[in-house]
Amino acid sequence: MNVLEVLGAVLLLFGTALSVLAAWGLIDFPSALARMHAATKSASLGLSLIVLGAAVAAGSWELLGIAALVTAFLFMTAPISGHMVGRATYLAGRVDNLVFDDLADSKPSPLVIRNNAQGGWSHTRVVGMILVWMLLWRDVSPGTLLGGAVVACSIELLRRAPVARNSIRLGGLATFAVRYMWLVFSSNARVAWEVVTPSNELIREAIVAVRLNTRQPSVALLVANAISYTPGSLTIELTGDPLVLYVHVLHFDSVAQVERDVRELEELAQRVFRDPAMTGT
């Protein structure tokens, strides 16, 4: 076994361990929302690590690209499904063991994102889609390029959904990724510990409303997703004008603590996107 295989094996076993802990958390945790914390997030990170391990063991750049794609996909989808199931569970009145609940006595107005996007053709997005297409086919021949171009241009032309027009700062994105990765691993470790130890006395569930400083939907979306991908916190509801996040936390300490954590993420997220109001100044 060479170095790459050993590293791949370690990643594989680490990912497997996270997945098994996620499944055990599903058995062990006391309430539906708490179980969601254990299951959806840790297992997504576990799957990412397993695919990464397979790519490293094979020593293949292509597979590494696929692993990055799978990780990015899971970072986008796992929080959404966690949030939607969590929200449905809350609205169904299946949540009754909260020590603190900001959502109980407020009727949140639904978030309406104004379509200030006006569509708009983006070369960057089209090139990005073509690259993903070629990565998925694992082929760089002209035919694949042409097929990818047709699909990407069709999507860009036919797309109806508004897309925020903020451009992304690469430096801010890198800072966010590094700081956020640390947060994800430390909170995964905390929830894993909770799963391994038989008593669940540290679990104090609460829903806290946190008002965001930003007015940008992109920043709010990134913060909401980042919160939901981290085990131990889940975005239950997001309301607009002003933007307020309702966060379900597994280990409630104080409202100020939750606010501090969300603000920290928000500040990092604000550095990822350029404010459209500020551009041109």
Binding site: M1, E5, G8, A9, L12, L13, G15, T16, A17, S19, V20, A22, A23, W24, L26, I27, A32, R35, M36, A39, T40, A43, S44, G46, L47, I50, V51, G53, A54, A57, A58, S60, E62, L63, I66, V70, F73, L74, T77, I80, S81, M84, V85, G86, R87, A88, T89, L91, A92, G93, R94, L136, R138
Partner: protein, 87 residues
């Protein structure tokens, strides 16, 4: 590598049994769908681990399909829960 993959796949199989136990027991529909979502993620993990052993890249399309189905399936059931309870 072979031994590592076998251990990983056995562990993932055991994890899938835990998840199925939760899916059978419930008590809420949300518990069941989250558990089944987890089963699909574990399946994808097992398939990827198999790819590490055989050095084939055939598992990649399967991985992507499983991840997509898990996501859309969970979303649809979440919508269903909201719709059912709003009636």
């Amino acid at each position: 590598m072979d031994a590592v993959v076998t251990v990983a796949q056995l562990a993932l199989g055991a994890a899938a049994l835990f998840a199925l136990a939760r899916a059978a027991r419930g008590p809420t529909l949300a518990d069941r769908i989250i558990a089944l979502d987890l089963v699909l993620l574990l399946l994808a993990g097992g398939v990827a681990a198999h790819g590490a052993r055989t050095d084939t890249e055939l598992f990649v399309p399967l991985l992507i399909v499983v991840a997509l189905v898990a996501f859309t399936g969970t979303l649809i059931v979440a919508r269903f829960i909201e719709w059912r309870d709003s009636k």
